[in-house]
């Protein structure tokens, strides 16, 4: 008897935790009614081809939000990384170009983290400034002209595949698994949740809060740089403005996935749902010939409503 009650409570809790998947299912059902093309294999595959970059990016952002922060500079890091890799390729070859760019992303992240933790400036402000600065740097470096990628092997990063599986999916899978193991089983990953719950309590326990914060922002910067590399490989261009849309979609995906902006709860599984939701939503709107501008309004409205619903659930808890 007792176990029956417990399992109903557990199912309820799971439903609350992964509510995004219910919303996702709803969207998919709506989509298939709205347009017959939606549920075709070809369409779904197309959606998934766009999956990797938003997902990898949102995974990094998830960790930043879990620790109680935010990073608005990821779009600019993507742009900057893309064009720097393009500029370096002819001079250093693929491997070194990638390594240097990843280090660059890590450094930008570390800089963000340093100002946020040592100077206790709001993450919003620090990363907003960061966003503007690095976007500016990107434009200066290229004088606004995209850098063409002439190295044919570089294409492999995005276009390559193993046994028919596109490489980006493999990157996503690897990062997903690593993130889950890290956040759920590794002590440092748990520190992220602990700090996000209550920084003071974590400090009292002797946890090195500042170091971990800087580490998380560094990791996120590296991930953003990685995304920049994949984007550039995809477009065969180092475009200084390529980072633009990614920021908003990432934040939306993370929040919809249940990782609250205050930190301390949520995770990458929810983010997975959030990213799938954003992609399917976009696809449905496009298939139904909704103009781009109305698309934006629509997406913004749906995200707002979904977050309100999630918030109400959270309030009821208290």
């Amino acid at each position: 008897m007792k176990s029956k009650i417990l399992s109903t409570i557990k199912i309820k809790n799971l439903a609350k935790k992964y509510f995004i998947f219910l919303i996702l299912a709803g969207v998919i059902i709506l989509g298939s009614f709205s347009n017959p093309i939606f549920m075709t294999l070809r369409n779904q595959r197309n959606i998934m081809l766009d999956f990797s970059i938003p997902f990898i990016l949102a995974t990094g952002l998830t960790m930043v939000i879990l620790i109680g922060g935010i990073d608005l500079s990821i779009g600019s890091i993507i742009s900057l990384s893309g064009l720097v890799v393009g500029m370096l390729l002819p001079k250093t070859g693929i491997l070194f170009a990638i390594i240097i760019v990843l280090l660059m992303g890590a450094s930008i992240g570390a800089l963000n983290g340093f100002f946020i933790s040592r100077f206790t400036i709001l993450p919003f402000i620090v990363t907003l400034s960061s966003m503007i600065i690095w976007a500016g740097v990107a434009l200066i470096l290229t004088k606004s002209i995209p850098v063409p990628i002439t190295n044919p092997s570089f294409r492999v990063i995005d276009h390559g595949s193993i046994l028919g599986i596109p490489l980006p999916w493999i990157y996503s899978l690897v990062i997903f698994i690593l993130a889950i193991i890290f956040l759920n089983f590794h002590p440092t990953g748990r520190r992220i949740y602990q700090i996000g719950n209550d920084e003071e309590t974590a400090r009292i326990a002797g946890i090195k809060v500042d170091k971990i914060k800087i580490g998380v922002y560094m990791l996120n910067g590296t991930i953003a740089a990685l995304c920049g590399i994949i984007v550039t490989s995809r477009m065969k261009l180092g475009d200084p403005t390529s980072g633009g849309d990614f920021l908003f979609d990432s934040i939306a995906a993370v929040c919809l996935g249940g990782t609250a902006l205050g930190g301390g709860q949520g995770g990458v599984i929810g983010t997975l749902g959030g990213v799938l939701f954003m992609l399917n939503l976009k696809n449905i709107l496009i298939l139904n010939d909704v103009s781009i501008y109305i698309q934006d309004v629509f997406r913004g409205a749906i995200i707002l409503i979904s977050i309100i619903i999630l918030n109400i659930q959270n309030q009821r808890r208290k």
Binding site: R203, A205, G206
Partner: protein, 515 residues
């Protein structure tokens, strides 16, 4: 120079802490032996909280030494206190609410496997066993802290402290939010901890708890240590006497009171059956010209009663009548418009706009603004002259009406706050700790103002205060509040301060149940 006694585990020697020139801890010696339950007792403001904040590394002393186990130490941060084996269990428990019991208990010391990853099975198993063995209670280690009761959360904090290897626990008012059974349970656990050699510093206002569980007690008064003595050598009367500095055994009523014949005065406020989470079925009346004090220990619900009546906290049941007319108060504005105002405890964050000038602070409320404005605009001159009237009435000393409120002294700020509310000509004023943090001179001025408001302007005043001398000076009647219930009402003239303290700190023997 005090010598270190060998069986003293914790020694705080001649500790001094000052805030803004005032010593809140004044050369206090606090020695705790290993394996004892040492109670720390004193009225609000006596210095207890600050002293233990110093011991747990939250605050640094200005003077004095701390010696732990014979070794002089500097406790710069709570994590150092933990390394020394001292854990504070504060009133506001610091746990990670969205995480599990197990993760909280093992915070920072999680068991790992050979890959360096956390072994959750082991963590949860050990947590469950630890709690069962040490507390004889079953708590699901996978439950979230958010879903636990207050008493369970407390146990989790204690379990965490034990897992961190604490040998001394500081419990700060642990029973404030616990039921009788939960208190019994807590005592069992504390006693067991002592049996195993643990040391406990126990802070409480509930003196009968001290007698039940304490080995020795240290009494503080006005930032100084008065005495440390074995609990068995002291009785309740003596303890209270030391706490307030009166001679023991006083049962004669103290001051001469302006004789107040209730029967020919109007009744202003009638409160019946007010209920919500913190307030249990409260009834009382306030008559014209009367000062009614609500007395009780921390957490008894004093502010909550006032906040509920004034629409700040939500009211589940109950009736409020003002001058005989029933009121439906659902939000603060309702209370204000009806003529009942609440002057909050925290003037800085709940009452004043510190950056704005004095005259704006006094006049910034909807009623006054409505009265003084024409077609939605106001004349600066009218504003200032109205404000000036109240500045004179309350004797607020300011260089000019335009100075920002933040630059005034505490006493003057409090006067501005009061002025703000007086401009609305209320019928009943509820004052919550009106003279907290104000120097003695300003305090007395305030007492005169409050008396004037009641006796000359015939307002009804509800005074919430933890300073018993203040209540004894001002109140006509005193309501004794315990855990949200008004257990009794006394005329001030029939009580001494010692008796008052006794009343609010001892447990009420409920008629139906008996221990």
């Amino acid at each position: 120079m005090i010598e270190t006694k060998p069986n003293n585990y914790i020694e705080m020697q001649s500790i001094v802490k000052r805030y803004a020139g005032n010593a809140v801890v004044d050369h206090v010696d606090f020695f705790v032996k290993r394996g004892e339950i040492h109670c720390l007792v004193g009225e609000n403001g006596a210095g207890k909280s600050t002293l233990i904040k110093i011991l747990s590394g939250i605050v640094q002393p200005d003077e004095g030494k701390i010696v732990i186990g014979g070794v002089p130490v500097r406790i710069d941060h709570p994590s150092i206190a933990h390394k020394l084996g001292i854990s504070l269990i504060p009133q506001e428990l610091n746990l990670l609410n969205r995480l599990t019991v197990g993760e909280n208990v093992f915070l920072g010391v999680e068991p790992k496997n050979s890959l360096g990853l956390i072994n959750w099975e082991e963590l949860y198993r050990k947590t469950e066993n630890q709690i069962y063995e040490e507390f004889a209670i079953k708590i699901d280690p996978r439950e979230l802290i958010d879903d636990l009761s207050v008493s369970s959360r407390q146990l989790v904090m204690i379990a965490r402290a034990l897992r961190w290897g604490s040998q001394a626990l500081i419990l700060d008012e642990p029973t404030a939010r616990l039921s009788k059974e939960e208190i019994k349970k807590l005592f069992e656990i504390v006693k067991k901890f002592r049996e195993k050699g643990g040391t406990v510093i126990y802070i409480s206002h509930h003196l009968e708890e001290i007698q039940e569980i304490g080995d020795r007690v240290t009494i503080l008064r006005d930032a100084k240590k008065i005495i440390t003595e074995k609990v068995e050598d002291l009785d309740l009367e003596k303890i209270i006497g030391y706490m307030i500095g009166e001679k023991k055994g006083t049962t004669i009523s103290s001051k001469k009171v302006e004789e107040h014949d209730k029967t020919d005065k109007k009744i202003l406020l009638e409160v019946r059956g007010i209920c919500n989470e913190k307030v249990k079925n409260v009834d009382f009346d306030v008559y014209e010209g009367e000062i009614v004090a609500i007395a009780g220990v921390t957490g008894s619900g004093r502010s909550e009663i006032a906040k509920t009546i004034c629409g700040i906290d939500s009211r589940e049941k109950g009736e409020i009548k003002l001058l005989g007319k029933k009121l439906n108060i659902r939000k603060p504005d309702d209370a204000i418009k009806s003529g009942i105002i609440y002057v909050p405890e925290d003037r800085k964050s709940q009452g004043l706009f510190l950056k704005m000038p004095v005259f704006k602070n006094i006049l910034l409320n909807t009623k006054t603004l409505e009265n003084l404005s024409k077609l939605g605009f106001y004349l600066l001159q009218v504003f200032k002259s109205t404000a000036r009237k109240f500045v004179e009435l309350l004797n607020i000393s300011i260089p000019s009406l335009g100075v920002p409120c933040g630059s005034l002294s505490g006493g003057n700020q409090q006067k501005v706050l009061l002025g703000k509310w007086l401009t609305m000509n209320p019928t009943v004023i509820m004052l919550d700790e009106p003279t907290r943090g104000i120097d003695v001179g300003a305090k007395f001025e305030f007492y005169e103002i409050i008396n004037k408001l009641a006796k000359k302007q015939n307002k009804g005043i509800v005074l919430i205060s933890s300073e018993l001398p203040e209540i004894m000076k001002l109140a006509d009647r005193i309501l004794i509040l315990k855990k949200g219930k008004i257990v009794n009402t006394y005329f001030k003239k029939n009580l001494s301060e010692a008796e008052l303290l006794n009343l609010i700190t001892t447990i009420e023997v409920e008629n139906a149940e008996k221990d």
